[in-house]
């Protein structure tokens, strides 16, 4: 039976080895990126210092989409090749992605207050991200809704794929809806061109966030594998007692 599964123990060792290679560069890049973003990049000529929220907001938005994509891919792999680590990876990624999405919404709202004078606007981008957030919540809720964890991970995997097909449709609809309801009064998020002094810290934050996600994903997968093992052991004990 073990042949059709890649060996979890081997993966576990690999994860332990790889984790520092993600965690340290992530930490360094984020700290350096934040330093450049907060102290060593010019304020926007229109938005002043509030533009610095961008260095967290934009990478968080990238990650929200990136993590969802990775979840959908792992889910497809899990369903097609019945690989338990693939489902585990989707399960591990979901709360991380949801957090990135939440950070994106929160910073968007904080940015909106000084720029638009209100905490929330039905801006096309914010609205799409909000719906993406609900997709994450639905995935996690479905995963935990069954007594049999296998059923939960497979059903959630199907949902992740449906959601992934739907994301561009939702994005298109919301963009379209927004142009209909919201005339061009909304401030454009990005200026005509971003100067390299802003682009470099933004890029550093983006790569830093991605590596941070990698480290967290490995850590969560290790934790989930341990939880599975603990449950497997207690179940084995239960059946042994029943057999005696």
């Amino acid at each position: 039976m073990i042949q059709q599964y890649a060996n979890p123990a081997r993966f576990n060792r690999l994860a332990t080895t790889l984790m520092p290679w993600f965690a340290w560069p992530a930490g360094i890049l984020i700290v350096a990126g934040l330093y450049f973003a907060l102290f060593n990049s010019p304020p926007d000529y229109q938005q002043g210092d509030t533009v610095r929220i961008m260095y967290v907001h934009v990478p968080a938005a990238w990650m929200a989409l990136f993590v969802y994509t990775s979840m959908a891919i792992s889910s497809a792999v899990g369903l097609i090749w019945k690989h338990p680590l693939a489902h585990l990876s989707a399960q591990a990624a979901a709360p991380i992605g949801a957090c990135f999405t939440f950070v994106c919404l929160l910073t968007g709202s904080l940015w909106g207050k000084p720029m638009w004078g209100t905490w929330w606007v039905w801006d096309a981008r914010l609205t799409s991200v909000l719906i993406l957030f609900f997709l994450y919540l639905g995935f996690m809720a479905l995963q935990n809704a069954f007594d049999d964890p296998r059923r939960g991970e497979r059903s959630a995997a199907i949902l992740a794929i449906i959601g992934f097909i739907n994301v561009p449709i939702i994005k298109f609809s919301v963009d379209w809806w927004n142009t209909l309801h919201q005339p061009a009064s909304v401030v454009k998020m990005s200026g005509p061109a971003i100067h390299s002094s802003m682009l470099i810290p933004l890029f550093m934050m983006g790569v830093g966030f991605t590596l941070y996600f990698g480290a967290l994903l490995l850590l969560r997968m290790k934790t989930l594998m341990l939880a599975r093992r603990a449950r497997g052991m207690s179940m084995a004990q239960l059946h042994q007692q029943a057999a005696e």
Partner: protein, 221 residues
């Protein structure tokens, strides 16, 4: 008779024997729509402005309530096993289920929708678009809801969870449904909206039976 018509027959017969189930959904639709004027006041212009949105949103919520019963009784009494073991592939069962759901829930909602529009004094120009968008949108909702119902089959908190999964997925239908009615009222062309809604319907018709069947297989395993 082909397996598809046999299953459809069965579904409709069962729905007619329990017609109060469908009636309750329509009643909820009307009641929820009647609630809004109490909340926002009876000012006619505002109600007319709100009409397309209220009709569509309440119809969606009413539909959400109906999905939980779509597979659950069959799952619990073993009928779903027999359907899965029948000569028809589960994809076909999924289409039959969605079609039966539309006939017993979507169609009644579609018929009740103009009545609510009357209560909200929807301008005359909007009725054609209202009925057309309902005709294109409610089958899409039935199809997507069928997937949600299959995914949550046998879960704890089935109904609420189902709504949480399905509502984000049907936002495009809501957007274009109401936009088409608004456009019709303002005298703009509605063709583009209707074509997009038709596209959603065709896409759902092709893709959702696959997802529903996959979900049902997981549920039966």
């Amino acid at each position: 008779m082909s397996a598809l018509t046999l299953i459809l027959h069965r579904e409709i017969r069962l729905a007619l024997r329990q017609i109060s189930d469908s009636a309750i959904i329509v009643l909820f639709f009307v009641l929820a729509a009647v609630l809004f004027p109490f909340g926002v006041g009876p000012e006619p212009n505002m109600l007319a402005r709100m009409a397309p949105g209220v009709v569509w949103v309440t119809a969606l919520l009413a539909a959400m309530l109906s999905f939980e019963r779509l597979f659950t009784p069959d799952y619990e009494d073993g009928s779903l096993e027999q359907l899965a073991l029948g000569p028809a592939p589960l994809e076909m069962v999924a289409i039959a289920k969605a079609a039966a759901h539309w006939l017993t829930t979507g169609l009644p909602l579609m018929i009740a929708a103009p009545l609510i529009a009357v209560l909200y004094r929807l301008p005359d120009a909007g009725y054609g678009a209202l009925i057309t968008t309902m005709a294109l949108g409610t089958p899409t909702i039935s199809l997507i809801g069928t997937v949600g119902a299959a995914l949550t089959l046998g879960s704890r908190r089935g109904g609420v969870l189902l709504s949480l999964l399905v509502i984000p997925l049907i936002i495009p239908v809501l957007i274009f449904g109401t936009a088409a009615i608004d456009a019709a009222i303002s005298g703009f062309a509605v063709g583009q909206h209707l074509m997009l809604m038709g596209g959603f319907l065709l896409g759902a018709l092709v893709l959702t039976p696959l997802a529903t069947a996959a979900a049902l297989r997981q549920a039966l395993e």
